[in-house]
Amino acid sequence: MREMILNGLQQAYSNLEHMLAEFLPRLLVMLIIIFVGWLVAYLLKFVVRAVLRVTKLDRVSEEAGASRILRKADLPSVSELVSRALFWLIWLGFIVVGISVLGIVSLQQQIERLILLLPQILVAFVILFVGLLAANFFSRAALLAGVNTGLPSPRLLSEAIRIMIGFLAFSMALEQIGLAKQTVLMAFSIVFGALMLGLAIAFGLAGRDLARKVLEKQFVHEEKPHEDELSPL
């Protein structure tokens, strides 16, 4: 009995020793890969940031209104954001390769699932970012056009456009990562439908006179006086 216990312990110790002998070099290799990955990622981040600054990407993003969105979200400039994203992408790649060296099957499976999801998340972020940029651009264009043509509530129109495009981008981003596809689709349909119906009812009932004027303006072509008779040039 005693001998069996001792043998068992000896076996366990030898297994542990064997496992450690097998695991420790792998762990070391993993750490080396992760460290090299960090170095490579850091170097590339530095180079990419410098290149982006030379190409004046920040100026372009400022002009497009992207920088303002980033500032609102308490995020750094576009060049900083791109270089940081690249850093994390490269380093994460090295970390994944390093972990795969350990040979732990269940961990490897989880990582594979994460890797499969990563591009989707990235694409979703890009969709959301571009969507917010477009929302910002078009709402500003609508605001300027509304003010310059003397529309009664230009800011309302501008905000409606911003919300609609933003909501569209948000639902597209959620659909990209496959999150509650049906729910998102339904929510979008309901909200969009309700908005249009609400606008139609509001326009038709509350603004009957305005609706008549707009329709007359659109379809009844009669001689209308010019805004003024001055030639600016």
Binding site: V60, E62, G65, F137, R140, D228, L230, P232
Partner: protein, 429 residues
Amino acid sequence: MAAGMTQESFLTDDFLRQLISVGEVDLLVGITSNEGSNSANRAAQAAEEAVLRNFPRDRAVLINLDGGSKDPGLSEGEELGLIRKGEGRSIESLRTFRRISARSRNVFTVGTSLRTILAAADLSCARACVIIPASAENVVPSWIESLLRPVYREGYDFVAPLYSRHKFDGLLTRNILFPLSRTLFGRAVRELVPTEFAFSGRLAARCLAEGSWNEEALQETGEMWIAIAALLGDYRCCQTFLGPKVRVSAGSSVVSAIRQTVNGMFWSLDSTAPIWLNPPQLSQVHTIGPDQQISGEYVRVDRKKLLAIYRSGIEELSQILGSILSPDTYAELSKLSSTEETTFHLSNPLWVRVVYEFAASYHHSVLNRDHLVQALVPIYRGRVASFLIRHRASNFDEIHADIEDLNQEFERQKNWFFDLWNMKGQGES
């Protein structure tokens, strides 16, 4: 010629063939049209009469650029209702007078038309060129002669037109384009966006070679860029009085006029900054005929609407204007928006500050540039309202004194503008 040879690839084979058959010429008349050939008839007849009557011993070519043509297959000469032999023409050219055309189903932009004419001038070695839009309502042979003669006979490189105008017409020119160009370029012509103008072959070759013709600003206001190139370069410029210009009702085109011309002006400032940042001495551009003639017949203007748009713009665009203007300037504009119509006055110093801050913000790209220029529209309307209120009963001398004061104000704030222009620019680099 060399510049033209490198540019010839954008000319169609048919047009190039016609140009080669014409050979070298002394005078070139370009008629630009985007409404089919009928609208070009009047201008073409005036051009032919002007050339045959005043330059009968010189070789001339008349080029009709017909954009939006319904029948681009018409052969040479068929398209223009020119004075034909035996149809009441009492004079004929002693040398050659040729007519050629370039047509396209697509509408020609200003830039495309100008570039085609510049290339044609360069390839045909024309000494003097004049451009007439087919839409010009009251073009007469004497206009063409008045524009061509200074270039052809007196050695000028650029001739701008001068018209007799209504006292409230051309306010965009008088409030932004003219004072800016006068202050920054050292000399200025009153019509910086001329519809009819003349230029020398030398200037044509330079503009053809150096113009960034694919730029949107040049596509829309190429004529202004040619004028600025002449004013800033070593070119002899003058302006010649043509007479009354038929008034064209602006309607709602103020926005598009500002989007095109102010964008073109700011873009030109951006691309020529190294030259005007070392400002030359102010010098006068020679004027042939009276400098200005202003008429004062009644026109209907809705001042209340102008003020309403100004007030709405200042309130609704607060965020956009806040990123373009300094806090002080915005605060003054904001304070002004609560003023009654009778006392509303957007003063010259404030207006100059607005224009300079917009120009600097355009240079620093604080916003999408088209949006930035559009944000100027409500303030411009406020300025127009202020001008109309102030000069409702003013005569020519009073208006002239006010415009001169505005020009002086642009001059006074020039150094501050240079600092504004360079300040952020240095920070960026």
